[in-house]
């Protein structure tokens, strides 16, 4: 009991540190790919300190701050449900379904804040964000169905447990079609190029974040970082065996994160209708095929 309480406090902190490290690493690696030096790795810390010390000069109403806090709280709670290399304070049977629901809490919070902002750019960004969520849910849920049918459980701990053994037992190799489908929509879930349509600075003036300044922007940045952690950790737990201890878990997360980063470094942004068509075409077909294979043959 005591251990559980300690982990409930420590795990979000660890996730926070990893998330901020990923933010800093992404800017540095992106810069090096573009043949320039880039900011130091602790730049997100400087940014957050600056944002927190800025003073607001206008109030958008109480729902504005409430929406942002709801978004951040949704992401932090989701972190508690995802096992991180042996640490799983709140897991139980059925927690995969809980995670799917909780992952939609943060766009909802952003939508509340954007609605209170009275800015047409914010509304456009929110509508695009929800269209993207709709788009990636189809192949993602089909892959999850395949995984749940194969392991005959909806608990992430049991899914990880069934992948113990060696590399051959990983979901990547046994359930390759759902793994490939989820990897194809990983950029959409993370909200990185080529699918960072919802928060595009050039097209819709940062979308839902157009009226966020100061501490609200800090909350939004943290929420984005937590969301990255949640998605990458989910992929590692479902298809890469989870990790026997925190260190191997972190290394696997780093590999997946770098793969996503390298993809986003070289691709341009697509339009929202292209993103919708992309998600509903090949990833959905591959996930459906994987699901049918699992149902028919049990492998």
């Amino acid at each position: 009991m005591i251990f559980q309480a300690i982990w409930i406090i420590v795990l979000p902190l660890a996730a926070f540190l990893i998330a901020v490290l990923f933010l800093g690493l992404s800017r540095k690696i992106l810069a090096r790919i573009q043949r320039r030096y880039g900011p130091p790795i602790y730049q997100p810390l400087i940014d957050v300190i600056k944002l927190v010390t800025q003073e607001e000069n206008i109030s958008h109403g109480p729902i504005f701050g409430f929406g942002m806090m709801l978004a951040l709280a949704g992401s932090i709670v989701t972190v508690l449900f995802i096992p991180a290399g042996g640490i799983h304070p709140l897991s139980s049977s059925g927690d995969l379904l809980v995670i799917i629901y909780l992952m939609l809490l943060s766009p909802l919070g952003m939508a509340l804040a954007a609605g209170a902002a009275h800015n047409p750019n914010a509304s456009m960004g929110v509508s695009r964000k929800f269209v993207l969520a709709l788009a990636y849910e189809v192949p993602f849920l089909l892959s999850l169905l395949a995984v749940m049918t194969y392991t005959k459980s909806t608990s992430l701990v049991e899914i990880i447990y069934s992948q113990q053994g060696s590399v051959v037992d990983w979901g990547l190799l046994r359930l390759s079609l759902p793994a490939i489908a989820t990897f194809l929509v990983l950029p959409v879930m993370l909200g990185i190029r080529p699918f960072d349509i919802a928060g595009a600075p050039q097209e819709i003036a940062s979308g839902p974040m157009v009226e966020l300044g100061g501490k609200y922007l800090a909350l939004a940045a943290l929420q984005g970082a937590f969301h990255t952690y949640v998605v990458v950790a989910l992929y590692v737990d479902l298809f890469l065996g989870g990790g026997a201890n925190f260190l191997t878990f972190f290394v696997k997360m780093l590999v997946i994160f770098l793969a996503g980063l390298l993809i986003s470094a070289v691709l341009p942004r697509v339009r929202i209708d292209q993103a919708l068509r992309y998600c509903l075409k090949w990833p959905s077909l591959i996930a459906l095929l994987g699901l049918i294979l699992v149902l028919l043959t049990g492998r």
Binding site: Y37, G38, I46, K50, Q54, E211, G214
Partner: protein, 185 residues
């Protein structure tokens, strides 16, 4: 980072944050904006200074007035400056904001930007080279360290002076309209 730097960080972390994370509002006010894309891209990398372009004024804390300011642009600049969050810094690029520059006898450009919004620093040139822009950023850091970049405080303390000048050239700005017709932000 040397030991002096760490001492400064511990004494005032907020100044450390404001110095090394100057987010520029990407509002292209005049012809001088042509010098900003080279500064932001790979050859003269501005991101290692912490300078990033931001799409909206609510997220930026540095405003670069690049080039001449016509009357219409002045209205937009005042509205943008009023929307930014404190502390905010304004840097005038080129000779046009200083004294009118090339357009010193034009009927449609303002001659002294300092009368309408407070300016923290000027960069001479038409247009300044990227190296000059980086020297300006480092000078702005030194000014922030010495509490000399107080444009936003001057604006709030002497608001009557600035408002009078703004009203003189642009009496039809929405912020001077009656309160029930004024817009948010």
């Amino acid at each position: 980072m040397d030991r002096e730097e760490i001492g400064k960080i511990i004494k005032s972390p907020s100044k450390w944050g404001q110095k090394y994370s100057l987010w520029a509002v990407y509002f292209c006010t005049g012809c001088g904006i042509i010098e900003i894309p080279p500064v932001l891209t790979s050859r003269w990398d501005a991101e290692r200074f912490g300078v990033m372009p931001m799409a909206t004024p609510r997220q930026g804390n540095m405003f670069l007035i690049t080039g001449y300011v016509s009357m219409k642009t002045l209205g937009a600049i005042i509205r943008t400056y009023d929307q930014m969050l404190d502390p905010k810094y304004v840097v005038g690029f080129g000779s046009c904001p200083i004294n009118g520059g090339m357009y010193w006898d034009s009927y449609n450009t303002i001659k002294e930007l300092d009368k309408y919004i407070p300016v923290d620093g000027w960069i001479a040139g038409c247009m300044p080279r990227p190296e000059a822009i980086f020297i300006a950023v480092t000078k702005l850091w030194m000014m922030i360290d010495n509490d000399a970049a107080t444009g936003y405080k001057r604006y709030k303390e002497n608001y009557q002076y600035y408002e009078r000048n703004q009203r003189e050239v642009l009496p039809h700005l929405p912020k001077f309209a009656k309160p029930e017709h004024a817009q948010i932000g």
